[in-house]
């Protein structure tokens, strides 16, 4: 696993014969690089525009034509968000839901992935085939029966409804299985000769080795769960149970000028994820690269 984790950095992609190529490269390379730099800057425009607007006064936001100039710098939109909505509560809900879903997903998927990679048991082939097939089930197409299911046990608008349906991610099992397939089995064999049972093998030997896979699955599960809109939007029927995305959706239809307020809201709603991204940028990129998503 150390191999896959460090691959993007060590890969000798920077051609050894680069000096030769560089001389010839010139125009084509420079032109395309210029275009991509320009587009990368353009890509940041919407985010910069939201940040810019969020520190304007509301009157500045409706100037025609739109201007980047800030005549009166103020954080009033930010304080306005907290007084106008349950944002604090939504943060808490999003944090609870995302963290619990991530923990449950990592535990259940790593156990299943480990068993499918290492162990023999009855119906193993069948179980693996079923899980693989599950990758193709789109949860978005199941909102109606899922809602009905939780409605019938009176759990709509509870954390149960927000958390449980987001846990089964067959792709996570697949990632863990692929990962364990690539780890040499010798350590576990040694442990089993010493009398370790299945739980010890999994918990004490396999899991600590699986750190890169755990990191990748955790980050993606966290981000996807935090951002999931449709299901929490349906399952949380009161303001106090909403997650950030579901809550932000309800504030779009306001009255009066609330442009700066809405931009502040978008910024605040995105902030935890930007934080995660900046902390885990490398793991995210390597996670995609090294976990068999290819």
């Amino acid at each position: 696993m150390a191999v896959s984790a460090s691959r993007p950095r060590t890969a000798g992609r920077r051609d050894r014969g680069s000096t030769r190529r560089r001389q010839r490269a010139s125009l084509f390379t420079r032109a395309t690089t210029g275009v991509v730099i320009a587009l990368a800057l353009l890509w940041l425009f919407p985010i910069a525009w939201a940040l810019d607007t969020s520190v304007k006064s509301e009157n500045d936001t409706i100037i025609v034509p739109a201007t980047w100039a800030i005549s009166h710098f103020t954080f009033s939109a930010y304080s306005g968000v907290f007084s106008a909505s349950d944002l604090g509560r939504w943060y808490l809900n999003s944090a609870i839901v995302s963290i619990v879903v991530t923990v449950l997903t990592v535990i259940t998927a790593s156990m299943a992935g480990y068993a499918l990679s290492r162990r023999q048991f009855r119906f193993k082939g069948l179980v693996y085939a079923a899980i693989l097939a599950g990758i193709m089930i789109p949860p978005q197409a199941l909102i109606v029966p899922l809602f009905r299911e939780f409605q019938s046990v009176h759990l709509i608008n509870t954390y149960w409804a927000l958390i449980l349906p987001q846990v089964p991610a067959p792709i996570a099992v697949f990632i863990f299985k692929k990962f364990f397939d690539g780890v040499p089995i010798t350590l576990e064999q040694a442990a089993e000769v010493d009398g370790a049972n299945w739980w010890v093998s999994y918990r004490r030997i396999a899991l600590p080795l699986a750190r890169p896979a755990i990191a990748a699955v955790s980050i993606f599960t966290f981000v996807w769960t935090w951002n999931n809109f449709l299901w929490p939007f349906l399952a949380a029927t009161s303001q106090t149970m909403m997650t950030i995305p579901a809550g932000l959706g309800t504030v779009t239809d306001g009255v009066g000028i609330i442009n700066a307020l809405q931009m502040a809201e978008a910024v605040l709603g995105s902030l935890p994820l930007v934080f995660v991204f900046l902390l885990a940028q490398r793991q995210i990129v390597e996670g995609v690269a090294g976990t068999g998503l290819k």
Partner: protein, 313 residues
Amino acid sequence: MTASSAPATTMPRAATAERTRARRPRRNWGNLSLVSPFLVFYVLFLVGPLVYDVVLSFFNTSLVKGGLGSFAGFGNYTELFRDHQFWSAMWHTILFTLVSTPPLVILPLFFAIVVNRIKRGQWFFRLAFFLPYILPSAAIALVWLFIYEPGYGLIAGFFNLIGVGDPGWLSDPNVALYSIVIVTVWWTIGFNFVLYLAGLQDINPDLYEAAGLDGASQWQQTWRITIPMLGRTTTLVTVLQVIASLKIFDQIYLILQGGPNYSSRPAIEWIYDTAFTSQRVGYASAASFILFIVILIVSFIWLALVRRQESGV
């Protein structure tokens, strides 16, 4: 039975002999119990709802009443096949997929190839292209509603500057869906970009060296080596993109509410409206099942393509 023994036989005998000896005494419920926590979630919240969906689709189930309601047979399905609103919603979903997939496959490929060649500051490009991907759809919707605003919006300002009027980004039924495609490309390109960057790491640099010595230009190397060698990644990106696009809901619902005048309402929003506004759960379940089948067929087509690609190499 046969399925359970298959994996054992496919493994090289010598390598497994020792493992099986160590494990055989414990070939018991312990191993199955490692899988069972996941299977419980899987059955209750993925396969269960799917089966339930099929059951519901044969009944006139209502949202506000308990129980399944009266038996409908294939009534829901025959009604669906004649329902113009449903098919136009399906068409919007398919149109969105057809329009959004090419840019989301080609643009990140171009970005990744160029960025991969840049020596310093790669973090900047990853930041610029990937950052939007991790933002919540609701935040994206707020920002782009403001950007598309016809009077004081950022784009309107730019269009006025160059002397072109506002094309009705969100108000013209012929334009609105394309405005959403622009948002989607901006929002989700980062994931595909990172997949391509990862794919590029696997190309043997010797290939370029050899080509360089033979006098191949940068353009030729890109066209003859990089793009063909990325074939598998391109297929994967395309598959994932088509499936993601078929599930379009958030952006259209949050920015357009399916409007103007239902002209952009996608399949999932139709299902949502039917189940939760018209309260016809059975009917909506039948539609969900049709959408599920469509996504499944697309998945299988691409899976077959991948198989062929892999056996061909």
